[in-house]
Symmetry: C2
Subunit: 86 residues, 2 copies
C-alpha cells in the first residue's frame, strides 16, 4: 500500500526516527516520508517506531491502497521524490 | 476534495504560514494540516502560500477526491483531529 508518514519527535529522538523511516520509505520533506509498504513492513515500521517514541512524540500514517488515488503537488522547492525510484 | 498539506518553512515565515493554513484547514501535527477544500479554496490557499514563500521553503499538498480512500492512523499522542469537526 501507499503510505505517507509524518512525525513530530523530541529533538533527542529525531535522528533515530529519521534513520528508521529512511529504511522503509523515501524522505520527501522535513519529517515527511512516502512509499510503498506491505502490511508486514508497515507493522514492523510501526513497532520499531513505537519502541523509539516517548512523551509527546507523535506519528501519523496515511494509508492508501493505491497511490493513483492521491495527487501530490509540490509548491516551492522539491526536496526529494519517490518518483526517482519508480 | 480532501487535502493533506505539509510545509517546511524558514523560521521567520513559519508563523505566517501557520496562520494562513489554519484559515483553510485543520492542524493535525507540527506543520501538517488536513481538511476539505473546494478547487477555488485550494487555489486561493496556494496563491497566498506562494506569496509568503521564499528561498528553500517547500509546501507539499496531497489531494484526494474523497477522504474515504485514505486511512489515517495516529501512533503516540494525537495533537488535533478533524474528527472533532465532523
Amino acid at each position: 500500500m501507499y503510505v505517507i508518514l509524518v512525525y513530530d519527535m523530541d529533538g533527542k529522538r529525531v535522528g533515530k526516527m529519521l534513520k528508521l523511516c529512511r529504511r522503509y520509505l523515501s524522505w520527501i520533506q522535513n519529517s515527511v516520508f512516502e512509499g510503498e509498504l506491505t502490511d508486514i513492513q508497515l507493522k514492523q515500521l510501526k513497532s520499531e517506531a513505537e519502541a523509539l517514541m516517548s512523551g509527546k512524540d507523535s506519528l501519523i500514517i496515511f494509508k492508501n491502497r493505491d497511490q493513483k488515488w492521491l495527487d501530490k503537488e509540490v509548491v516551492g522547492e522539491e526536496r526529494a521524490s519517490i518518483d526517482n525510484f519508480l
